[in-house]
């Protein structure tokens, strides 16, 4: 494949589907992941018995989904995606397993960021009479923001990597292009173009992530 063919016929379509797939996943994953991460953070410290049980259950589910090899998760979730009324083997259908994989991943990263926040700050907020909800939203999440930003950047890059497996269920991404048109078509040039595009994309994401990190710090 010539570079011209790649740019004029394929680049736009595959770049767009990758961005769409990964973008929607990140949005949903970041929102639910933040809630999940905060929940893990709150429940793990509690002295109440039932809250501790809740933490154990949540942590188990997170661990369970995270231990699924992503390639297997895609196929396990096909019936679930169909239940949602989506075409499971399509671009929009692939967002479902990608999101299900992203939520616990981001949740764990957020939990990690929150734990890093200085205990003293939390104690000070408690002594000021803030409610647990206020402590989380106004103090801890805000304090942890730089660390969360770098965690989300990391997640986004991981998701771009995951998106390469979309070809298994007939969804399009730069990664599946590299496999379909490069690997199994034995077209090294096509593979290099797609991988090159991914490299640029990842560098761009990292640069923007670093920039926002500096901004919030």
């Amino acid at each position: 494949m010539s570079l011209k063919t790649y740019i004029t016929e394929y680049l736009g379509k595959y770049l767009l589907t990758t961005l769409e797939m990964v973008g929607i996943t990140l949005l949903i994953g970041a929102v639910i992941g933040t809630i999940l991460g905060s929940l893990l953070y709150i429940t793990r410290k509690s002295k109440k018995k039932w809250v501790q049980v809740l933490y154990k259950v949540l942590d188990f589910i997170v661990g369970l989904i995270r231990s699924f090899p992503f390639y297997i998760l895609i196929f396990v979730l096909l019936p679930f995606t169909r239940l949602l009324g989506l075409r499971a083997m399509s671009n929009e259908g692939f967002i479902v397993p990608l999101t299900i994989a992203a939520i616990p991943f981001i949740g764990k990263i957020i939990e990690g960021s929150l734990i890093e926040v200085n205990e003293g700050v939390v104690e000070a907020a408690t002594s000021l009479g803030l409610s647990p909800w206020q402590i989380i939203t106004r103090v801890v999440l805000r304090e942890a923001l730089p660390s969360i930003v770098s965690g989300i950047t990391l997640s986004l890059i991981t998701l771009i990597g995951y998106s390469a497996m979309s070809g298994a269920v007939g969804a399009d991404s730069l990664g599946s292009f590299a496999y379909n048109f490069g690997m199994i078509s034995y077209d090294t040039a096509a593979m290099l173009y797609a991988v090159g595009t991914i490299v640029i994309l990842v560098v761009l994401v990292q640069t923007i992530g670093n920039f926002i990190y500096k901004l919030v710090k």
Partner: protein, 276 residues
Amino acid sequence: MKKYVTFALSAISLLSISGLASCSGSKKTIYVGTMSQPGEPILKHIEKEYEDKTGYNLEIQLFTDFATPNNALAQGEIQANLFQHKPFLDTYNENNKTDLASAAIMYDCAYGGYSKKISNLSDLPEGAKITIANDGSNMKRCLDILDAEGLIKVDYGTTATADLNPDTVNSYIVENSKNLVISPIATNLIAASLDEKDVYIGIVNATFAINAGLGSSSNLVCQEQDPTHKNANILACKTEDLKEDWLTALVEVLTSKETDAFITSTFGSTITPYHG
């Protein structure tokens, strides 16, 4: 923080609305599943003609492995697929209790044994390794080629093609005087496996072989003879769709003289149009 959450939520709803809007176009979309070689270029070639003729929207969906396009078809997520031969479809139907049908016979794919180490079968050393396809119907195809060349003798006994298992490939080989090591692997890796030190022959579709730079005649050491065209590739669909007008129109453009000429000029001797 509230601001961010509100922003994210509104962004999600905005995206899903725009997603829904793009789905509800007035044109009916026909999804056809295929693989990058040789199906994609052929479908791409007829895409515009089909859309102009029928007013339907044709969407080509690419899959990376043989296992999934039939699953997508059976679930109704694609309306047709083009990547397999009839024995492969029969095996799928048998194993999954589905009723997928062949809408049209499309083309013969040359299938043969390729080598980077020998140019003649008689030079094959004792204990050489041969890589073959690892799905039931194509594994049988490979073993039959080796049998026809007299390298091994195969006997499947009462085992149906659908039940052939790559893990027990040796149980189908009743005679193997050269002690050849027959190794079933994923079809798309067979050509690449020829770079391994101990792999002497890989049996694979000519399209794969030529893309992998094995096009010269000195690389081809044996070739399948298929006078009855039983391994010709087909366009598959659901049985209940056989009479649908979108399918009739699709078969018409796919089997036209013009498409045949395109196939011949693109793939040369590796893909030969044949419509039964």
